[in-house]
């Protein structure tokens, strides 16, 4: 008896779920909103990620060059010392401002003050999140560079590589391996942070869920779906990072 009641309950739950799902997503082709939102979230995250890494590498290289070579460059003087000091100062200002203000405020400043004429929020989102992420990635990379044994620099320099070549061929490849877990963390944070892109009038995943909820007066299905999609995206991302990490680790067998 109890078993039959249980089966009936499960079946009714299932039919209820199907009808709710049909009503929320299929009717009025509302699932298209979700797909659009998902794609926009991907675009903004992906774009910001690439931009953040590029900014991060450059800033980390400048900052750690300054930290490492400050003494010796002062002895040798020259133009390089002046240029590096100025660049390092600019980087510090960038880091302070970006890390010192909320990302939503940066987003709105980009959208309403800098790119006033741009109606499409996606490129603005990529720009703002890229600039924001760059600051955090830069510090992650700098920590990675500083963690690499100074002997590696010396070996590179003693072979005749200049500073930039040493960085490019010897230090940065090793640095990437060292910071991969932390970097993955930052990417996960970035992915979830893009959920505030709705401020730019972009229909991202979160906004899509919100819109559907608003128009159907049924919030639990769209919001739980949104949460689930984020979760799966994060899981995929950390899985990819794990695979990459294992591949890079092959030299440590």
């Amino acid at each position: 008896m109890i078993f039959r009641r249980f089966i009936q309950w499960v079946v009714s739950l299932y039919t209820e779920f199907v009808s709710e799902f049909t009503f929320v997503f299929i009717e009025g082709n509302r699932y298209q909103q979700m797909i659009k939102g998902f794609l926009n979230t991907l675009k903004i995250t992906g774009g910001a990620l690439v931009m953040g890494v590029i900014i991060g590498v450059f800033i980390a290289a400048i900052r750690s060059s300054y930290d490492k070579n400050f003494e010796s460059m002062r002895l040798r003087k020259g133009v390089g010392y002046c240029v590096l000091t100025i660049l390092n100062g600019l980087c510090k200002i960038y880091l302070t401002v970006i890390r010192g203000t909320p990302v939503v405020v940066q987003l709105m400043i980009s959208y309403f003050l800098i790119f006033v004429d741009t109606k499409d929020g996606v490129p603005v989102g990529i720009f703002a999140f890229g600039i924001n992420s760059g600051a955090y990635v830069a510090e992650i990379f700098r920590a990675g560079i500083m963690s690499i044994d100074n002997g590696q620099f010396e070996a590179g320099r003693s072979l005749g590589f200049n500073y930039i070549q040493t960085m490019r061929h010897i230090i940065i490849p090793q640095m990437f391996k060292a910071v991969l877990p932390t970097l993955c963390n930052e990417f996960i944070a970035l992915l979830k942070e893009t959920s505030v892109a709705g401020y730019l009038g972009v229909v991202d995943l979160t906004k899509a869920g919100n819109i559907i909820g608003g128009s159907t007066f049924s919030y639990y299905m769209p919001l739980l779906s949104v949460a689930l999609i984020y979760l799966v995206m994060v899981m995929v991302l950390s899985r990819l990072a794990g695979i990459l990490e294992r591949r890079l680790r092959k030299s440590e067998r």
Partner: protein, 250 residues
Amino acid sequence: MNDRSCLIKVTGLKKHYNKGAVKALDGIDCEIQKGEVAVIVGPSGSGKSTFLRSLNLLEIPTEGTILFDGTNITDPKTNINYHRQKMGMVFQHFNLFPNMTVLRNMTIAPMELLGKSKEEAEKKAMELLERVGLADRAQAYPSQLSGGQKQRVAIVRALCMEPEVMLFDEPTSALDPEMVGEVLDVMKSLAKEGMTMIVVTHEMGFAKEVGTRVIFMDEGVIIEEAEPKEFFDHPKSERAIDFLSKVINM
């Protein structure tokens, strides 16, 4: 003075830290001739390594000049990277690139800096590996090698750049005792071929056997310079006698 064969000429070299509070090098004058094997010995903290590292400007001297092949490399306008290509260096802790295979460790600099093709660089690298008996380890990563193997790879990595002088910074100090021999053998054969070498070491046996000159340093200055036999049998200065009495009686 025969300037023709003088490869490195050091004049008044000083290295001070903390605005002169610490004097790691306190006025060094020295000449290294082509084909010489100069062995630098001395108690720890005497400035041997600092001196060696100054020669390719891994340490920037506070004062003094270094002429390498007639070029003043201490002049900030000199392109030190170019001159470093001709000064191979071997470190105490090997400093192989852990993310690259042995072969890649050896070919990266010739390919990037001398513009050699991959085939050319690898051919040269394999020849050198063959010579030190490590040809079968070409595809291994440094973490898979023993200390002695790592140091032999480090030596041939430097040789891939075809340097005019090799600088050795305590090349056997980080090795297990049974691996010291294999590294010293490579260095000996290198010396036999007429490579100019400057070696900081605690291996007195090597100094005696291979060295053409012993440079004894203490407290940042050169105390004594002599042929090995002369230095070990009849040291002149008090400090050299004291030092030798500590290291020889084993």
